[in-house]
Amino acid sequence: MRNGWILERNTTTTPSTSRSNSSSWTACIVALTLLALTPGHAEAADEDLRTVAVADPYLEMHTGPGRGFPVFHVVDRGESVVIIMQRTDWYRVRATDGTEGWVDQAQMELTLKPDGSEVDFARATLDDFTNAKWEAGVLAGDFGGANIISLYGGYSLNPNVSIEVWGSQILGNFSNGWMGSVNVVHETWPDWRISPFFTLGAGVIRTEPKSTIIQGEDRTDQIGHVGAGFRIYATRRFLLRAEYKSYVVFTSRDDNEEVEEWKAGFAFFF
């Protein structure tokens, strides 16, 4: 079928004998349109790479990518299917008769490559949790009695040490604010599923007293903090994170402020 497409494409030529300008333009446009509509060599080759053979007695096609969607078509052993796309742990595949449906990862793992070897559908594991370079997440919690919502991104220098950049919005009863900081995080046992860490960092905090409070000016202060917490591997590229940090706010007044923070949330590694 694919060869047919290629043949069709190769026989599509522009009539060079035409003398009329307008007709040669028309021919050009028709040829270009045909080229655009016809899968080229690259796409055909790409599809070839995404073709796998059914090695299990049969491959069940569901009507949707999720639990409960009924099986409406079965592909027999030995036949091949083309993988069109993936959503979470489900693959949309097309059988040779053109039927398209969704197949779960457990069944896809029992298919074979054209050369007869097993297909490796890479899925994130605990090993990736330990060794992934990048991480980003969202945490929320309590910052000295106020609510705090934080976003962070991190880069691992090695499995034990990473550098993180945090941005937080603080929403309190009397004042709101923003906080930005840079942390160094040390994980002692990064290969554990529940991995404890220690952190140290510095940054700035912007405090804006609420509009209903008369006195008080906006101010920006420097902060330093120490903390500890856990990263917990959940599933795929997903992890849960909970942490405690103790902040010192270097104010321009006589005394420095100390603030305790408790947060929990989720993150992804990639």
Binding site: P65, K133, R236
Partner: protein, 226 residues
């Protein structure tokens, strides 16, 4: 004078470059310190004629993200109802769970006090713009199919969401909890229509005493998966 500046510039450049060279391996960005391959005698270069055919996951189109826009109506407690519009970005973690970020904006109207009193206003017009963002966790609780006529079936999902965020209204940022439910109707595998109902809750003391305001929102949305 100029040459002295040039010398200083060169010195600093040399220091920085050597610093980069020293630190690049520290950050794991430098090349692996493998010994240079011994020079091969000419004529012995292997030219692989066999093209390997492998299925690698990056070649498969992954569509776990969902991006779209919505428009609807939103009621701001005590301040009437107006149009709301916004955007949504979701990531589907598993077939059941997804995480979602939304931003939206509406205009708050006049309270009944402001209408009845004639001219008195509680807040400036600038502060009547109601802007929110939320970070939510969602769960597809009732996946299913919808049938149009006899020959067409579309995948659908009824989902629940809940999350945290912030609302800028009446001159302050307000910590906001929101929850709701929605219905996703997939026109194709990559294009979906949404109907959503949500309640945004925050504490407000603008009208004298502090209370928790319920701000109800209903919207229609379109999203694409990518």
């Amino acid at each position: 004078m100029e040459s002295r500046i040039r010398v200083l510039f060169l010195i600093s450049a040399v220091i920085m470059l050597s610093g980069c060279a020293a630190t690049k391996n520290l950050f794991g960005m430098g090349p692996e310190s493998a010994p240079a391959p011994a020079s091969e005698p000419p004529g012995q270069v292997i030219d692989p004629a066999v093209e390997r055919r492998e299925v690698k996951e990056p070649q498969i189109d992954r569509e776990d993200f969902e991006l779209g826009a919505f428009i609807g109506v939103m009621s701001v407690e005590d301040f009437g109802t107006d149009f709301v519009y916004g955007a949504r970005l979701a990531y589907h973690v598993t077939e059941g769970f997804f995480v979602e970020g939304t931003v939206g904006q509406t205009e708050a109207g006049l309270t009944s006090f402001e209408v009845l009193s004639g001219g008195a206003t509680l807040i400036d017009d600038d502060d009547r713009t109601f802007t929110y963002y939320n970070l939510n966790l969602g769960y597809n609780i009732l996946p299913g199919e919808g049938f149009i006529g006899e020959g067409r079936a579309y995948n659908t999902n009824f989902y629940l969401i809940a999350g945290l965020g912030s609302t800028r209204f009446a001159g302050d940022d307000r910590f906001t909890v929101n929850f709701g439910a929605g219905f996703r109707f997939l026109l194709t595998d990559s294009l979906a229509l949404h109907v959503d109902f949500r309640d945004h809750l925050f504490d407000i003391d603008l009208l004298g005493e502090e209370k928790t305001a319920h701000n109800l929102e209903g919207h229609l949305g379109v999203t694409v998966f990518f």
